[in-house]
Subunit: 86 residues, 2 copies
């Protein structure tokens, strides 16, 4: 199963394997909508990235459980991009 491709806006690092991205939103309501979508995605996938947010931004940090990022983790990132339409 090839991973859906996340946006090139993701910052991918190797040791330790992780990927991070910051999203900006025009309002707190939009920020909350995005957070709710990520929460539902976490419940569906069992993946719980570290999320850092305030009124108008959300930073998502996906830390690989093993030595390398998996298809599931790449797919989570790609789906987050879709939610944010960014």
């Amino acid at each position: 199963m090839t991973a859906t491709q996340p946006s090139s806006a993701w910052n991918i690092q190797q040791r330790p394997a992780a990927m991070t991205r910051r999203y900006e939103f025009a309002s707190y309501a939009e920020t909350r909508t995005f957070l709710d979508q990520l929460a539902a995605l976490s419940e569906r996938t069992g993946l719980h990235p570290n999320l850092n947010f305030a009124r108008n931004h959300v930073s998502v940090s996906i830390n690989a459980e093993g030595d390398a990022l998996t298809d599931a983790e790449y797919a989570y990132a790609a789906e987050a991009d879709t939610f944010a339409q960014q």
Copy 2:
């Protein structure tokens, strides 16, 4: 109006004026309940602390808008303690 007293578990710093605290939760469901309560509190108060969370923890960072923390910011912290019962 004297601020309701936040727990001594808060880490308070001066320059820049800020207060932070980390809460631990037994399940992701509890973490989400706490986050939803904070979101509603933010909408009521207009204060949007920086929140950092994953499956079982939430770190709240309240950065003073001015030079010093205000009663409203202390009250936010005290209310967060109440929500978390910690």
